[in-house]
């Protein structure tokens, strides 16, 4: 059980590393938000659940933390991305599709 938890925590740490690499390497705000959100959501999910598996008496507390992260992380990233699009930060040159032009309220 302990080794299982260690493996899960390790995979989570790997995802967190990939996420930080994405934030560092991606060209514009939206790609960075995406890298930061996807990888840190899964990464922190696996890391925290892994700790809960290693210490079974903490499992329910870690479950509550995970639920919190699972809801708050995508929602806050959505708000960040939407706000930066609304305030007119442009996409990077290589992007080919911009769906926000179909909606009202997005300037450019």
């Amino acid at each position: 059980m302990h080794i299982f938890g260690v493996i899960i925590t390790g995979i989570g740490a790997l995802f967190l590393f990939i996420g930080s690499l994405g934030v560092f390497r991606m060209p514009d705000v939206y790609n960075r938000v995406q890298a930061g959100t996807k990888c840190t959501t899964l990464g922190s999910f696996l890391t925290i659940i892994g700790v809960g598996i290693m210490q079974p008496e903490w499992f329910w507390k870690t479950l509550i933390i995970v639920v919190f992260v699972l809801i708050s992380n995508p929602v806050s990233s959505h708000a960040l991305g939407r706000a930066s699009r609304k305030s007119g930060i442009s996409l990077c040159d290589k992007s080919i599709v911009d769906k926000t032009k179909e909606f009202k309220g997005y300037q450019e």
């Binding site: 809801i71 995508p74 929602v75 708000a79 309220g105």
Partner: protein, 227 residues
């Protein structure tokens, strides 16, 4: 020239701090009272968290003063902001998107749960009434930012605040009434490190948590409604 002057000034300040702190030995307790709290705190108050045993046990009267200061600050803020009401600018704020709205409504009870946990376990784990109250107020702040149509009920928040303050003072006066000091720990101390232990400390911390939470929520309400 100016940079040189700044660097010189910083060097003088750094030298002064170093010289004044050089003689003070670090890590050696100056007073005996710290040792007393660490060695006898659990035994005397029943609270495993030594910070809590000091804040609510040994200097509970100061804590009453602290929450009174917070109360006065809330009243003062309400009075100051109330005078600006006439020439306030009504800014057009776009409502948050549906995702944020729903997410805030999901997260609100979770944050309340965390805050309540922190002030109920104030005598066992780090944290306590002030910290838990601040977390509860942050839940209300999230609600105000995400769901612009929701408001706290002012009467309910005032009532909760009043109950918190009254509980604190009543617990203190019961200590006086049975012939001991103000805020005397008259309840059984129980086993250390259990939820029902440390006598009156959990009761006082729950009262502080409710009071601080509703007060800070009231501050947020004032600032958002009237600015």
């Amino acid at each position: 020239m100016r940079k040189l002057f700044v660097i010189l000034l910083l060097l003088i300040i750094a030298g002064g701090i170093t010289l004044s702190l050089k003689e003070i030995p670090f890590g050696i307790p100056k007073t005996k009272i710290g040792d007393h709290f660490i060695n006898k705190g659990v035994e005397e108050t029943g609270s495993v968290n030594i910070v809590t045993s000091v804040v609510v046990g040994y200097r509970g009267f100061d804590t009453l003063g602290e929450i009174t200061v917070l109360f006065a600050a809330t009243i003062g803020l309400g009075a100051v902001i109330g005078t600006f009401r006439k020439n306030s600018v009504n800014r057009e704020v776009e409502a948050a998107s549906l995702i944020v709205y729903t997410g805030c409504r999901f997260l609100f009870p979770v944050i309340l749960l965390v805050g309540t946990y922190i002030f109920i376990h104030g005598h066992l784990t780090p944290g306590g009434g002030f910290q838990g109250g601040a977390i509860i107020a942050s839940a209300f702040l999230l609600m105000y930012l995400g769901c612009s149509n929701k408001r706290i009920k002012e009467n309910l928040s005032k009532t909760v605040e009043m109950i918190g303050g009254l509980t604190f003072i009543a617990v203190g006066i019961i200590g006086l009434a049975i012939g001991q000091d103000f805020l005397f720990n008259f309840l059984p101390k129980g086993e250390p490190a259990e939820l029902l232990s440390a006598g009156i400390i959990p009761i006082v911390y729950i009262a502080i948590g409710l009071k601080v939470g509703s007060e800070l929520a009231g501050i947020i309400d004032n600032l958002i409604q009237k600015s």
